[in-house]
Symmetry: C2
Amino acid sequence: MNVNNHPLKATQLSSQADAYDILFEPVEIGPVTARNRFYQVPHACGMGHLKPRAHAAMRAVKAQGGWAVVSTEETEIHPSSDLSPFAEQRIWDDHDIPALRLMVDAVHAQGALAAIELVHNGYHATNHYSRIPPLAPGEMSLNTNYPRQARAMDKQDIIGLRRWHMQAAKRAKKAGFDIVYVYAGHGMTLAQQFLIPRFNQRIDEYGGSLQNRSRLTRELLEETKDAIGDKCAIAFRFAVDELMGEDGMQAVEEGHEIVSLLAELPDLWDVNVSGWENDSLTTRFGLEEGYQVSYTKHVKSITSKPVVSVGCFSSPDKMAALVKGKVTDFIGAARPSIADPYLPEKIRDDRVDEIRECIGCNICVSSETLGIPIRCTQNPTMGEEWRRKWHPEIIRPRVSDRSTLVVGAGPAGLECALQLGRRGYHVMVAEASDEIGGRALHESRLHGLSAWRRVCDNRLYELNQKANVDIFRLSQLTANDIVDTDASAVFFATGAKWRRDGVGRSNRREIPGLENIIVHTPDDIMNGVNPGNLPVVIFDDEQGYMGGVIAEQFGATFSDVTIITSASVVSPFTIQTLEQERVQSSLIKKGVKIRTGEIVARAQDDAVETRCLFSGRRQLVACKILVLVTQRTSNNDLLSTIKEADFSSLRQHITHIEAIGDALAPGLIADAVFSGHLAAQNFEGDTREIEQALFRREIPAIPAD
Amino acid sequence: MNVNNHPLKATQLSSQADAYDILFEPVEIGPVTARNRFYQVPHACGMGHLKPRAHAAMRAVKAQGGWAVVSTEETEIHPSSDLSPFAEQRIWDDHDIPALRLMVDAVHAQGALAAIELVHNGYHATNHYSRIPPLAPGEMSLNTNYPRQARAMDKQDIIGLRRWHMQAAKRAKKAGFDIVYVYAGHGMTLAQQFLIPRFNQRIDEYGGSLQNRSRLTRELLEETKDAIGDKCAIAFRFAVDELMGEDGMQAVEEGHEIVSLLAELPDLWDVNVSGWENDSLTTRFGLEEGYQVSYTKHVKSITSKPVVSVGCFSSPDKMAALVKGKVTDFIGAARPSIADPYLPEKIRDDRVDEIRECIGCNICVSSETLGIPIRCTQNPTMGEEWRRKWHPEIIRPRVSDRSTLVVGAGPAGLECALQLGRRGYHVMVAEASDEIGGRALHESRLHGLSAWRRVCDNRLYELNQKANVDIFRLSQLTANDIVDTDASAVFFATGAKWRRDGVGRSNRREIPGLENIIVHTPDDIMNGVNPGNLPVVIFDDEQGYMGGVIAEQFGATFSDVTIITSASVVSPFTIQTLEQERVQSSLIKKGVKIRTGEIVARAQDDAVETRCLFSGRRQLVACKILVLVTQRTSNNDLLSTIKEADFSSLRQHITHIEAIGDALAPGLIADAVFSGHLAAQNFEGDTREIEQALFRREIPAIPAD
C-alpha cells in the first residue's frame, strides 16, 4: 500500500494552571455559594417539559464537567405563557415539580448549583395549547406568526402575574433549585416588554417614566426575594442593549439606568444583549470571544452583587483577565458549555488544548427553533446523554484487538477515528488528498465560515496524541488496497459531491440545456474556482446555508450576481440558526439580485429560463456561469466495489463494512460528526442495546382518570 | 329599552329519514362489519403520541356521534419514519400500545370500529428525533425544509421496511384495531413514492414498469393480510391523482391502472387526491361538496371491495345518491366529522338542519401543521373533550334562573348565546346593526369567503328554535340601556375594529403622514367601500389571511394593485392552512404587484415610502389609496363605561361582566367562537373545576431508569 504518514506535531502545552486559580474561587450568590466562576446560563435545548429524563441527564453532564451553576431553559410560570409547541420548561403547578426535581437532583449530585429561569412571555406567547388571550403591557400584535393579538393587562392582571411568579418561585424552591431567575431579555419576556417604551405606552404607574416602567421588574424581584430569598438566590437576567440604536434599549442610556435603579435588588446580575439573534450571534456574522463585553462591562461597576457575563468564552487567559479586571465575576456560557461540557475541568486540569471550541454555527439553536432535542456540531454526545448513554469524555473500551480502517478524513471520518482510537482500537485513517478535514476544511474557506475549521483542528489535535491511530494522507485507496490492509473493519467516510445536473428538491429530473452553459458546483467554488465570467447565477434548491454563502462570497467581489431560490427567502434553513435576516440583508447590501420562489427550469446560451413556483411564469435571466446548489451524491463507488461479488473471497477477513456521514446520506456537518460518532460507539456493541437506544423515548403517563 | 325583535323563521324540516336508510346499512369489510356507511377517514389532529388521553376522548365522541369507523392519524411504524416535532401516532414498539388501546377501547365502547393508518414516510420524514438517515426509493432531497437527504434503499432496506410494517400491523392487532391501513397518499408516504416515476428511478424489480413500482405496495398489502387478516380488515388508502396533469399520477392513467392491478388485495379502498393541499382544499379555493368524486368514481367499478370516498359531504341527499349510484360504499369524512361529530346521528334522527356544516377554512389543518391540538371554527368543543370535558351536543344545565344579556351577535356572541340558551338560561342578544353575524357575516362578503357565513347561519337556525333566547336587532345599547334590562350577567361580544393608524407588528407607533392620503381599513372594504381611485396599496402587517383576501378582491377588478407585506410571502399564516401557494399564485395571475419583506414607513401625497426589513432601503411606491391591514382594537368603550365608578350603584344587580371574542382580544373567528363557548360553559361554574381545566395537560411518565 502506497501511503504517506504525516503526523502533525502536538502543540506544546504550557502549564498555566496557577494563572487560572482565580477562575476556581468560590463565589457567594446571596444565600448560596458557587464552587467556582463557571456559570452555565439558561439556554433552550428543545427537550424541556416533553423530555424530562433526557433534560436532566444533559444538565448533569455539565455539572460533572465542572460548571458551578447549571440552569434550565426558560420555564413557563402559567398557562397564559404557553409556548407550545416548543418544549421549554414548565412550572404551571405542582405536577411539574417531579420532572424539574430530576434535573435538580442530578445537578446537585455533581456538586453544582441548579438555577431555574422563570418566565412570563407576554406578547411572545401564542398560547396555542392553553388558548388564553396573550397578555402584554398594551393591546398589540404578537411577535409570532399568528394572527392573534395580546390584550392590555389591567391592574388585576398585574397583581395576578405577580402572584403567579411568586407561586412559581415557591414551587422552584420546593423542587430544590438554588437560584431563581427574574427574566427580562431576548425580546420575549413580559418584564422586558414593560421596560421598553415602544411596547409599554401605559398611562398608569406602570408606564411613562423609567421608574414606572421598571416597577413590575422591581416588584417581581422584591416579591421573589421575600418569598424564597432565605434559601434561594434571586438572579436577574437583563438585556442591557437591543442593538437597535436609538430605536431600542441602549446600554449607554436606559440599559445603564436600569442597572442603577435595581442595582442591589437581585443577588446576581446575568447580563447580555437582546434579541436572541444578537445574544446568539454566529461566527459567520462576526461572533468573537467576548463580543458582548463592551455592552455589559459597566454593570459590575454599578452593583455590588456578582455579575455573570457571556460572550462565547473559551480562552482561560481571557476569562482570568476579565475576572481580574473586575469586568465580571462569573464566566457565563451557553454555547461553549454545549460544545464542551467539560470546559471548566479541562482548564483546571491543565488540558486547555483539549477544549472542543464552539464553532458558533447555531445548530444548537436550530434544535430549539425546530422543537427537537439539542444537538451540536462539535459535541455529538450533546442530547444523547440519556437516550444513548453517551458521555463527552468517557467511552466504552474496545472489545477486541481488531484493526480498523477509516477511509476519508472529513468530519465523519475524523470523529469515527477519534472515538475508535479512544476506545483503544488500532485505527488507520486513509485520506485521498493531502489535507485533513474534508468538507469541514473546504467549507471553512468560504466567506464567513473560517471558524468551521475547528471541527477538524480539535479532532486532529486529539488524534495526534494517540499512538494507536495512524493518519495517512495522499492515500487514494482502491478496493484492492483496502483488502490488502490488515483491517477487519472498514468505515467509508468518503463524503459526497454536489450534483452538476440540477436534480434536487424542485427538479427531480436533470435541468435541460446545461450543456449550453458553464456550470459550477459548490465543490468547484471550494476548490478555488472563480466564476471569472459574468453574469453569474446561483440556483439554490437545497435551501440550506450553502447557496447564501456562495452568493455572499461572490457579492463581495463581483458586480453581476443573482441568486435564484425555490424558497421564499434566501437560505431558509438559516431562519432556524437565527441568521436569515443577516444573510438576506448582507446580500442586498452587496447588490446581489435575489429572486425567490423560482427555479431554473432550463439553460440556454447566455441565459437561464426560470419558472415561478407560484404562477408558472417563465422568464429569462442573463447568465454566463451557473452555480448549482441543488443536491449531493454520496461518494460510494469504492464501497460498491468492495461489496461486489468479485470481491467476496478477497474481503472475507473484513467482517464490518459501514458507510458513515455524507457517504451514507448527505446532511449537515453536525449530522456527519454524529454519524461517525455513532458508528464508533456501536462498533462491536451489543445489538440489543443499540436497538434499544434507537427506540428509547419519553412517553406521556397514562394515569387512570 | 328601544329594541326590535326580528326572530327568523325556522326552515321547515321535511322528513326524509326513509330516503337515508341506505346510509345506515351495515357493510362488511373483510372480517369486520361496519354498522353503517359513515367512515371517519384518518386525519391528523396535533395530539398523536404526545396527548393520548385527549386523542382517545376526541375520537370517542365521533364514535358516539354515529360514525361506524373511526380512524387514527398517520402512525409511524419505525423511528426511521420519525415526524418529530409533529405529534402523529407512533407504533414503534410495544410501548406505544397502551396509548393506542385507550383510543381503541373508547371507540369500541361506542359501538364503532377502530382503524389505524400505518405509515412509513420515506423522504417526508426528517427523523429529527431518531437522527436516522431518511429512506427513499433513491437518493434525494427531503420535501421538508431541512438540508438533509434521504438515502436510496437497497434490497435489505426493503426487506426491513416490510418487516417493520408487518410487526406494526401485529402490534395494531394487539392494541385491538379492527382495520389496519396500508397508505400511499398525500405525497408523504414511501409506498406512494415507490409508485411515482419522478421519485422512483430504480433499475431493479422495484422500479421501471408499473408492475415493478407497485411491487412494494402489493407486498405490504399481502404481508399485512397474511399477518393479521384473520381478525383485521386491511384498508388501502390511495391517492388516485396528484392534480399535476402529466407531471404526476393521474386518475385516468396510472391512477386507474393501479386500482386494477391491486383491485382485490385490500379489504377496502379509501381513495382521494394528493397532495394534502388538494385533498384538504378550502372553500376559498373552490371546495364544494363531492369535489373529489370525478377523480375517484371509477374505483368502485373496478374492485368488488367496499370503497370509501371523501369530499366534504354534509348533505344526506347527495350521500344517498352516491351510494345508490354505486359511486361509493362509504361516506368518508375528515373535516365534516370535525365540524360535527354527530353528523350521522343527526341524519338518522331527522335533524339534518342541525348539522354544523364545515366551512372549509382549514383551521383544523393549521393545528396539525403548527403541532398543536386540533381546533375547529364551527365546533369549539373539538380538541376539548378530555381537557375541559366538553361535548358537542351535551352541556351542563343552568344552575340558576338568572337572566343574561349578550351584547353583539357576531361569532362570539352567537356562540355564547347559543350555549347559554342550551343550558336553559334566559338570553337576550342585542345587536347594534340590522344584521346577525358580525364579523363572520362581514368577512363572508369578501372574495372567496362566502362559506364563512355558515358560522352565523348554523347558530341562528338553532337559536331560533329556542323559546328562551330573544334576539334584538338595531339595538345599539347604551350603558343605561344595559343596566335597565333585568339581566344580571352581561357578555360583551362587541368585536374589534381595524386600526387606521398603521400600528401593528412592525410599526409599534403610528405611521407618519397618513393625513396626506386616503386610508381604508378592512372594515371599510367589508362595508362595501371601493377604492375607486388608483393606484391602491394594501399594507399587510397582520400576516393572517385578510391582506391576501383584499388583494385578491381588488386584483379581480382593478388594474393597479400592490400588496406590501412585512412577511416573506403573502399571508404567511395561510401556509398553515395549506392555501399559501394558491393565494400567491392567484395574486400573481391577477397582476397584483407583490412586495415582500417591506413595511410602509411613511405616507405622502400620491405615494407611500417603504422600508425593506432586510436592508433598511427606502423606496417610494405610487399610492392614492392605502388599505391598512395591521392590527385591531377591541370595541370596549361600553364595557369601560359600565365599569366606571359612576355606574357602581346602577350596576349592582349585574354580578357578572365579561368580554368575549375579539372584544377581549382579537384573533381568528375560531378564537372568537371558542371564547364565546368558554364563557357560556364556565358561567356560574365551579371555580375550582374551571381552574383545573386550564391546567390539565399530559405529562411524560417518569419511571425509574
